[in-house]
């Protein structure tokens, strides 16, 4: 059974939140996506290890939108119902690159301490 993200064993709440933000911003880096697509991609790329719940994903999206890191817009496409697509804003791009660097350092530090070899 796939791990429910919010119920994951990672202890630090801030860490979780930070990593969830980083994941969403990363997924929007190249093109706009709607909520379901974001959830699907996270599940897919983590090979089912991380799954987002509706009740936690959307509040997070709204929060990012409010911080002006991403912007949602209703888009109608021929033959489809309208959906809300989120894209990265300029300030979102900035945040993304900073968070990425931070994570890299963090993961490297953990690796050094726990002695896990890089793949």
């Amino acid at each position: 059974m796939a791990l429910q993200y919010m119920a994951s064993p990672v202890p630090d709440r801030e860490l979780k939140k930070g990593s969830a933000e980083l994941m969403i911003l990363s997924l929007l880096e190249n093109r706009p996506r709607h909520g379901y697509e974001i959830a699907q991609l996270i599940e897919l790329r983590s090979r089912g290890a991380i799954r987002f719940n509706v009740a936690s994903l959307y509040p997070l999206l709204y929060r990012l939108e409010k911080r002006n890191w991403i912007r949602g817009r209703w888009v109608e496409k021929a033959g489809q119902r309208r959906r809300r697509y989120y894209r990265l804003t300029a300030s979102g791009k900035n945040v993304l690159s900073k968070q990425r660097a931070g994570w890299r350092e963090f993961v490297e530090a953990i690796n050094l301490i726990t002695g896990i070899q890089r793949a």
Binding site: M6, H34, V54, A55, S56, L57, Y58, Y62, R63
Partner: protein, 899 residues
């Protein structure tokens, strides 16, 4: 597909999102859940299992609500649908209404400016008149506890003087015996010739009891007021008015203690009064100095010489009624004690305020009523405009109602708009009032109020604001209710034409026009009556010819000219010089010119006729004049002859009487050669022979019919001096003022010359009050007529515009243009006719209040009523003719296609 929206909505309920935002979130989340559901199905789950799986996501207790609460603001903005029923605070609504109202008004500049101008005229008139009413009637008098102050008079109604000036002896007796007052003070006019300080000047002043200023609660600005020790004959101290101190002494702070020469005697200045001190009483607004009254012993014993004005202050707790009762008792006692002088003489107690404003009060209240009427008409006009506009705005209103606006909320919105209009009107009106007051000041008779006190002050501003609010609500209410109560369905279905504002709106508009016509009719009648009455007044024969007459006061000093010989010598010399001036036709010495003085009368006895009982001697006005007076004044000599230079102290004493005096004392006889004397037949004054009879002259009062009069020549008078000069000119009289004055100064360089004026102006002043009422009421009536005609025009224009199709059909069916014109005019005249009938009835009732202001005509003067009816009818026809003409120009094709 299960409906996830219900589930989501249930979980969002507590977050308190705005409806729009909630709908968005529900849509987004349900899409997500539907996708999950599809996926579960495709993975082989049954519908039920799939549903369970999906819903599980929502089931972490409280998660969604908690998470969203951190992110989403509560009750965020939703689109504004004006007037929708939301429980928000009234101020937010008001702000919204104000903004919307301003936008609406700005979008209709023509409507807005017409409405604002109409309101500004009416509100401005109200503010201007109110500022006068406030200054004259409402503002408390500038004395300590002015409500306690009263004036005391003797009642000699049997002689035609219901408020007669008390005599010194009676005043002193009152003062001794009365207990209702904390104090009682007397005043008496006195003029002073100020000499020895550059140009001689005649100053009006007053002798006053020493306690007067204390009684009034007025203190000196410099020095002190009088103390009881000053009130003794021979004490020569003087108080200066602020203006005299400024003007003549350059506000010299060291004036106290300085000696001034007044009437040839030296007086010490003991104080300077604050600015604008005015003693209550007659003609005292220009008092420039005051001295103690200090009755000499012989004056204090005078019961028969009435010349005082008496003011008193009620003791706290004593009512006017009690004071009157006590004064009646005292007067009755004095009547028994001194029957010769006091028979039938009572005492009158009049509150000071009533004394000062009693005469002008009715006129001012009538004017205030008149401007109120003008305001009513303006309200009706604007209400009419609003009604017509409400008809145009029906679609907007219908839309807002359909979007959920409540009718009460719409009513509020309309009222806000009308109050806004009224406030703008009031703002502009205040500017008009400011300008109006400037003009008013020049017309306000000096006896009414000091013009400086008539200003737009806080009280007037509050009044104007109040009037504006009431006005706004008054003219806005009907259109607001009418506008928000119509059949929504009809309007939306019918494309907003011919519904709602239709028949009912027309009826209200018609009623408003009828009201306007009625009210303006009343005003016009009032104005017409006053104008006619004023013309009557101006056409009154004053008994003399006022044109080309120059007059001036020449008060001789009693010290320098103590006897008639010296006075005669002075005047002879002056006359010689004046007669030589080019432009002078004739000139004469006079005493107290007509309409400038209110006193000087005495009882007389006729030779051969037994004296009437005490208190019933007829009173006759007397004047001291010189030869040529009647010719110069243009007073016709009916019989006999004028005085000549030979009528002097050495010849027999003579008198000239007026026609009325002749009829009274010698009915059916020729009075020439008959004799009379002042006082009773046993008095020791000499008998005087009647040598001439002249026409009656309006001496004291222009309006009342002339009283009995007689004239003496000043050359035969020991104690009464002539005090004026009258010059008939062949050129503009004012141009001779300086030459005549110089002629006087060439005889005596210290002689004062005062009140240089033309007789025409004196007569005009005598009817200033009537002119004031007439001009203002006339102005307001004209304003009312203008507003009413605009109202008629507006209603007829609207009606024609509404009936374009009907008129088009009529014309298409063969109606002639003349028929259409007639039909439209008939419609207008029906309204005007009803309004005039109502106005006629109202005028019959209301003009009765004018009765006291009218002279020579009745308040229901048929000619005025008829004339005004014709004027109003003519204006009404004119106002409805233009729209009627437009109706005849309707092109049937265009009218029908336009529908």
């Amino acid at each position: 597909m299960p409906d996830f929206k219900v589930e989501i909505r249930a979980r969002l309920a507590e977050v308190g999102l705005s409806p729009v935002r909630e709908a968005e979130i529900v849509e987004e989340l349900s899409q997500h859940l539907e996708d999950e559901y599809e996926r579960a199905l495709s993975c082989g789950a049954s519908e039920d299992e799939a549903r369970q799986q999906v819903l599980e996501q929502l089931n972490t207790p409280d998660l969604l609500r908690r998470e969203l609460k951190h992110v989403e603001p509560r009750g965020s903005e939703d689109p504004i649908a004006l007037g929708t029923e939301r429980k928000t605070n009234i101020f937010a609504d008001l702000q919204q209404d104000l903004r919307y109202g301003l936008r609406t008004l700005a979008k209709n500049p023509a409507f807005t400016s017409i409405a604002i101008i109409a309101l500004a005229l009416a509100i401005g008139a109200n503010s201007a008149i109110f500022s006068v009413v406030d200054a004259v009637l409402l503002r408390p008098l500038p004395f300590k506890n002015p409500n306690q102050l009263v004036m005391l008079w003797e009642n000699a109604a049997h002689l035609g003087f219901p408020r007669d000036t008390p005599s010194p002896a009676n005043f002193l007796d009152w003062q001794k015996q009365v207990t209702s007052f904390t104090g009682m003070a007397a005043m008496s006019e006195r003029s002073f010739n100020l000499t020895g300080l550059g140009e001689p000047e005649r100053l009006e002043g007053r002798r006053v009891s020493a306690n007067l200023f204390e009684l009034l609660g007025v203190t000196a600005r410099l020095g002190r007021t009088f103390v009881p020790e000053d009130d003794k004959p021979g004490t020569h101290v003087v108080l200066l008015s602020h203006s005299l101190w400024q003007r003549r002494f350059g506000s010299d702070p060291g004036i106290i203690g300085r000696a001034l020469t007044l009437n040839g005697e030296s007086y010490t200045v003991i104080g300077v009064m604050p600015p604008f001190v005015q003693l209550p009483g007659f003609d005292n607004r220009n008092d420039q100095l005051w001295v103690p009254i200090a009755f000499p012993a012989e004056e204090a014993a005078e019961h028969g010489n009435h010349f005082l004005e008496v003011i008193a202050r009620l003791k706290p707790g004593v009512t006017l009624k009690q004071a009157r009762a006590e004064m009646d008792t005292i007067a009755a006692r004095l009547e028994q004690e001194y029957p010769t002088y006091n028979t039938r003489r009572g005492a009158v107690v009049v509150p000071l305020h009533e004394q000062l404003v009693g005469e002008i009060r009715p006129a001012l209240l009538i004017l205030l009523g008149a401007v109120g009427f003008v305001l009513l008409i303006a309200c009706a006009n604007v209400a009419n405009l609003l009604l017509a506009r409400a008809a145009v705005r029906q679609k907007e209103i219908a839309l807002r109602l359909a979007l959920g606006a409540s009718r009460s909320r719409l009513t509020r919105q309309f009222l806000t708009e009308s109050v806004l209009l009224a406030l703008f009107g009031a703002g502009l009106g205040l500017l008009l009032a400011l300008a109006g007051i400037r003009v008013l000041r020049t017309f306000i008779p000096v006896t009414i109020a000091q013009v400086e006190t008539i200003t737009i002050d806080g009280t007037v501003l509050v009044f104007t604001l109040f009037v504006a609010l009431v006005t706004g609500i008054a003219f806005g209410l009907v259109p607001a209710i009418q506008g928000s109560h119509f059949n929504l369905n009809n309007t939306l279905k019918g494309g907003g034409r011919d519904s709602g504002g239709g028949s009912k709106g027309n009826r209200i508009r018609s009623l408003l026009v009828i009201g306007e016509v009625a009210v303006s009719f009343v005003l016009l009648i009032g104005a017409g009556l006053l104008i006619k009455s004023f013309l009557h007044l101006r056409n009154l024969d004053p008994g003399f010819r006022s044109d080309h007459l120059l007059t001036m006061k020449v008060n001789l000093s009693e010290v320098k000219y103590p006897d008639r010989e010296r006075r005669a010598a002075f005047f002879d010399e002056v006359m010689r010089h004046v007669h030589e001036l080019p432009g002078v036709q004739s000139a004469a010495v006079a005493g107290n010119l007509p309409l400038t003085y209110n006193g000087d009368s005495m009882s007389i006895s006729v030779e051969g006729v037994p004296d009437p009982p005490p208190g019933q001697q007829p009173d006759v006005i007397y004047r001291a004049t010189g030869p040529g007076y009647f010719a110069t004044m243009g007073i016709p000599i009916v019989r006999g002859r004028d005085f000549t230079d030979q009528d002097n102290g050495d010849s027999k004493d003579v008198v000239i009487i007026s026609e009325k005096t002749a009829r009274q004392f010698w009915p059916g006889q020729d009075p020439i050669g008959k004799r009379l004397k002042p006082g009773s037949s046993t008095s020791n004054s000499p008998w005087r022979e009647v040598i001439g009879i002249v026409k009656d002259v309006r001496q004291n009062d222009f309006v009342a019919s002339p009283k009995r009069q007689m004239y003496f020549t000043y050359r035969q008078l020991k104690n009464i001096a002539a005090n004026a000069l009258v010059v008939r000119t062949s050129i503009e009289p004012v141009s001779l003022a300086v030459p005549v004055r110089n002629a006087i100064w060439s005889v005596d360089k210290d002689q004062t010359v005062a009140d240089i004026d033309t007789m025409d102006h004196i007569v005009a002043q005598a009817v200033a009050r009537q002119r004031f009422s007439m001009l203002l009421l006339g102005l307001f009536a004209a304003l009312a007529l203008l507003l009413a005609s605009i109202g008629i025009y507006g209603v007829m224009s609207y009606s024609v515009a509404q009936r374009t199709r009907e008129i088009g059909i009529r014309i298409a069916l063969g109606a002639r243009r003349a028929d259409v014109l007639q039909m439209t005019l008939k419609q207008a005249l029906k309204l005007v006719g009803v309004g005039m009938i109502l106005g006629l009835a109202a005028a019959f009732l209301l003009t009765r209040v004018l009765q006291t202001l009218l002279f020579g005509i009745s308040a229901t003067d048929p000619i005025t009523f008829l004339g005004i009816s014709l004027v109003l009818l003519a204006v009404a026809i004119l106002a409805s003719y233009i729209p009627a003409l437009r109706a005849t120009k309707v092109d049937p094709l265009v009218a029908l296609r336009g529908q």
